[in-house]
Each structure stands twice: as structure tokens, then as C-alpha cells.
Amino acid sequence: MKRGGVIWSWFWMILGILYFFLPLLATFIFSLKAVKDVYSFKAYVNVFNDPAFQLRFPASILWSVLTIIAAILIFVPTAYWVRLKVPKARPVVELITLLPFVVPAIVYVFGLVRTYSQPPLLIVNSPALLVAGYTILSMPYMYRAIDTGLRAIDVQTLTEAAQSLGAGWGTILFRVIFPNVRVSILSGAFLSFAIVMGEYTLAQYLAKPAFAPYIALLIQNKAYEPAAATIISFTLIWACMGIIQVIGGQEQSGQIAGGH
């Protein structure tokens, strides 16, 4: 590539960064203007002091954590089992994991409500249904991250080695498989966290407290507070990303490399 090429690639990169960050910057500046003529964190204080925020923001975090736990417990064994026992079914399973991209959330949530609002499946009011729904939404990220992680280790031989040393399925999963896909699980978990924190449709229509519907409500009623809430959620997600990068980096240099 010639010098001109380098300049152009910088140009496009800067353009891309501007496209992404300018609105964010504008939002941030706007969020500081709650008090006339001065920059202040008034809007942030308002948001933090709002009882609705105090209920809904932690609720969303709780949903995220529960979703991540459920997703790990369901998808790690599934992805492992598919690789070990039914590798021929992998393309089909992969297709299934992509369904949440294909089915619009609004259609999905009405399906959930219809199915689970009549006996014997009357669980539409249970938070479990919301978490189950989120778990499905996290599937494309979580399952694929785990499956990619499993590709890096020789699942079958490691399983057989553990078996011949006396290990049962539980030991194999928790002592051999989980530790070796920890980095993948983390990256999948981060994405799932972001998805759940920003998810609107499911929480809204299943009538559960959550952060995204709260922002939507703020937008209808307030000027500066929605901007502040958006910045809060971005900051939170970036903090998560940073933590995961650090952990992942240590992991990489520590032990995970070279799984031949």
C-alpha cells in the first residue's frame, strides 16, 4: 500500500469515529445543560434521585445477571454436547441460535404472552418468563461465543482423557470444559449484558421494571434527564467492556494459550 492509501484509511477511520462519537458527545453536552446557562450534573442528580430509576436500573442489572447465569448453564453444556456427540447437527443448531435475529422482538413477545397466559402454562406474570425470554435473545451471542471457544480445544480427546481418569460429566464440565472456555463465556456475557440492559420490547410488554422502558418514559416527559440516563448506561457498558478486556488479557497471557 502506498502513502496515499494510508492517509485514506486514516481518513475513513476518523470519519467512522466521528460518526459514532459526535451524537454521543452531543448527547453528553446536552445532558449537562439542565440548569440554564451553566454546565452542571443536575440532570444526573435528578435521574439518580428518581425512585423509578432506583427501582428499574437495578432491576435491569438483576435481569442481566440472571440471564447470563441461565445462558451459561444452558448453552455451555449444549454446545459441548453438540460438539461431542452430534457434530453433524452443528449447522442446524447454529441456524436455530440465529432465530432471535430473524424473529422481531414484538412478534416474539406476543408469542410468549399468548402461549404462557393460559393454564396450565400460566407464568406470564413470573419474572422467570422474562429471564427465559432474555436468555433466548442472548443465544446468538452467547452460544456462538462458547462454540468458538470450544473449537480451540480438542473437546473429544480432553473428555476421554478426563473420563479415563475417573471423571464423570459434572467434573468434566466444571473442571475441564468451563475453565477452558472462560474467556469466550466472558465475551458472550458482556454482549448479553449489553443486550438486556438496552432491551425494551420484552420488559415493556411483559410489564416488568427495566431500564430501557424507563428511558423511553423519560423521553416523553423530560428534556435533559433522558440524555443523562443514556450516558449512564453507556458508561456502565464501557466499564464492563474494560473489565472484561483486563480479565481476558490476563487470562490470555496466563494460561489459555496453546491448547493443542
Binding site: 480432553l158 476421554e160 478426563a162 471423571a167
Partner: protein, 358 residues
């Protein structure tokens, strides 16, 4: 009582039989190799002993107890894989202690055993390294220690040396053999390398297309191959088509050239039979040294140095034969194209039915 008994074992995959009529009894402390070409069913048979595959028919008995359908984690067999299969998330010491931890042994008992195993494979200094920080040969030694730490009934090794380079392969195989002898553990070693099998086994099971061709000591298998396949697969062999012209005298005719074989080889043959005649390269020598039962005119075609051995290709009639002689600095080699005479005893001429296989 035999330590391990495989009785009438067969294995089918979707209608294809890959192992059949497999009968084998192994003594406590014996080192047995499964030797055969790719796809002959060595791994499949080993995996049935390990419990990773279930036999379609037959039974496996270990220490007097039938284990045919026991899951692998209840057999107490040690398995060594070609790909080492160390747990990447654990240190060397943790790998070795894995099985003991599963058995809920005490921390101090585990540590003691791990140290003992580390000493056995001389890797004490590497106890806290991760597998990726070790060479292939070191990793395989850790895998060996990990398998042995559990005091398994049987050690199963599936081509454990194939991924290593030639030097390490030779040194590690004698190390494996020495450790196996020291611990008195029964071992089955799968390989398709005949030199490997010959050098470390008490007995060799030669397999071909899912069947046992011959079971015997390395000496028996090499010197008295029972089938044409074994003769060809184990060691190198000169082979040519011939006809029995006098079964009482042991006379054979190869394209008008007469060979004499022993009475032993003529059992069950009659005059006029079309047969396959085989001679090991090291059984041929130049006639100038000592004339034996067969003295044959030949032309020198090629000379190859193989290190300690020099392989000379000669043409007898229309057939090409290899002849091996030990190398030494005073060896006087003939020139290519020279006419000469080679000789061999009648016992060196082996007779098999039919066409060549391998």
C-alpha cells in the same frame, strides 16, 4: 488367571465390520503391541478396552471381572493419546493430580504421589508450568505420569509417539518401556511402525482388515511370519511368484530359476501349486563368503546406504531382490552392473499361498 481377556470381540459401524473374531489373552505386566496398517482396527480395539466404544459382540474381562459394558470412568485404565490431551487450564502438577483429586484423596497424599510421578518422568522442575510451555516429548511424559498416578489396571497407548520427531520417539519409547517394567503394569501399545513394535513389545498382535493375523513375540513374528501379510508388513521382504516343482524335495521354480526351500515350508503343498516365495534381505549374502543351499546368478542393480546397513539390489532372472549386509569401513562393494552370485539357506525361503497383499 489372565489379567485381560478379549473374547470373540467384534465391532460394526453401520453394517461395516471393522473388528472381527478378536481373541486375545494378556498376562499381568505384559507389554503387548497392536501393529497393522492404517484402518485395520487397532484404535477401535483399544477404545473398546478403554470403554469409549462398546463391542458389537464379545466380552472383555479384566482381573476376572467382566467390564464389557462398564463406562470408561469406572474401568481404571490409563489412556495415552497421540495428541497428549493435557488439560490446558491446569499446571503439570494439577494435570498429574487430576485423577487423584477425583478420587478425593487427601491433599498430602496427592502431593506425595504427584512428586513421585514427577521424579519418575524427571520433570520436577516443570511442576508449575502449563502444558503449552512444554515440548511435545515433555507433554507426553506428563500424560504418562498423569495416567500412571491413578495406579491403573492397564495402560493403553494409542500411537503416543507419532507426533514426535525421530530422536525423541526412540528415547521416549525406551523410557515408556522402562517405566512400564518398573511398575509391572499391563500395557497395550498401538502403532503402525513395525520397528517400534519389534523393539519394545513382549508380544505383538499383527492386525489386518479388522482381524488378527498373528500373535507372537517380536522374534516369532519377524522370523516365522505365519501369513503372507505378516511377512510383508513386518520388516522388509523380497517376494516373487513361483511354482512348486517337487514338493518332496522342496524345489521351486521362479521363471526358470530353481530355489530350494525347507520341508517345513512344503507342508500342505503339492507339486504344481502356484505360490508366493519370500526371502528377507538379511538372509541373502554374496556366494563368495559361504555357499549355501541356493546359489543364484545375479546382476548388481543398485546400492543404498542405510547407515549401519548397506542394501544392495540384485536382479535374479527377471525378479529384483534386496540384500542387506552390515556396513563397515572395509566393506568391498561391487559395482552397479557387475555380475555376481548370491546365496541363501533353504530355511530362508518362505512359501505363502496366493497373491501378495501389503
Amino acid at each position: 488367571m489372565k489379567h485381560l481377556i478379549l473374547k470373540n470381540i467384534s465391532k460394526e459401524y453401520g453394517g461395516t465390520t471393522v473388528v472381527r473374531d478378536f481373541n486375545l489373552e494378556i498376562e499381568q505386566g505384559e507389554f503387548v503391541s497392536f501393529l497393522g496398517p492404517s484402518g485395520c482396527g487397532k484404535t477401535t480395539t483399544l477404545r473398546m478396552v478403554a470403554g469409549f466404544e462398546m463391542p458389537t459382540t464379545g466380552t472383555i474381562t479384566m482381573n476376572g471381572a467382566e467390564i464389557t459394558n462398564n463406562p470408561p470412568n469406572q474401568r481404571n485404565v490409563g489412556m495415552i493419546f497421540q495428541a497428549y490431551a493435557l488439560f490446558p487450564n491446569m499446571t503439570v502438577a494439577q494435570n498429574i493430580g487430576f485423577g487423584l483429586k477425583i478420587r478425593k484423596e487427601t491433599e498430602s497424599a496427592i502431593k506425595e504421589r504427584v512428586d513421585e510421578m514427577l521424579a519418575l518422568i524427571s520433570l520436577q522442575k516443570h511442576a508449575n508450568k502449563y502444558p503449552y510451555q512444554l515440548s511435545g516429548g515433555q507433554q507426553q511424559r506428563v500424560a504418562l505420569a498423569r495416567a500412571l498416578a491413578n495406579r491403573p489396571q492397564v495402560l493403553l497407548l494409542d500411537e503416543p509417539l507419532s507426533a514426535l520427531d525421530a530422536k525423541i520417539r526412540v528415547s521416549l519409547r525406551s523410557e515408556i518401556r522402562a517405566i512400564q517394567k518398573k511398575m509391572g503394569i499391563t500395557a497395550i501399545f498401538v502403532t503402525h511402525d513395525q520397528e517400534e513394535a519389534l523393539s519394545i513389545s513382549d508380544r505383538i498382535v499383527v492386525m489386518y482388515e479388522g482381524r488378527i493375523e498373528q500373535v507372537g513375540t517380536p522374534f516369532q513374528v519377524y522370523n516365522f511370519p505365519e501369513t503372507n501379510f505378516v511377512a510383508n508388513f513386518v520388516g522388509t521382504l523380497n517376494s516373487a511368484e513361483a511354482e512348486v516343482v517337487d514338493s518332496a524335495q522342496g524345489l521351486l521354480n521362479m521363471d526358470g530359476i530353481q530355489f530350494k526351500t525347507s520341508q517345513e515350508e512344503m507342508k500342505g503343498r503339492s507339486t504344481g501349486d502356484k505360490i508366493r516365495m519370500s526371502i528377507r534381505p538379511e538372509r541373502l549374502s554374496f556366494a563368495a563368503e559361504l555357499k549355501k543351499d541356493n546359489v543364484l546368478d545375479c546382476v548388481i542393480e543398485n546400492i543404498t546406504f542405510l547407515g549401519s546397513v548397506v542394501r544392495i539390489q540384485v536382479k535374479i532372472g527377471n525378479a529384483r531382490f534386496n540384500m542387506d549386509t552390515f556396513n563397515n569401513p572395509f566393506l568391498e562393494l561391487p559395482k552397479i552392473g557387475d555380475k555376481s552370485q548370491v546365496t541363501c539357506s533353504q530355511e530362508a525361503v518362505l512359501v505363502y499361498s496366493g497373491e501378495a497383499t501389503a
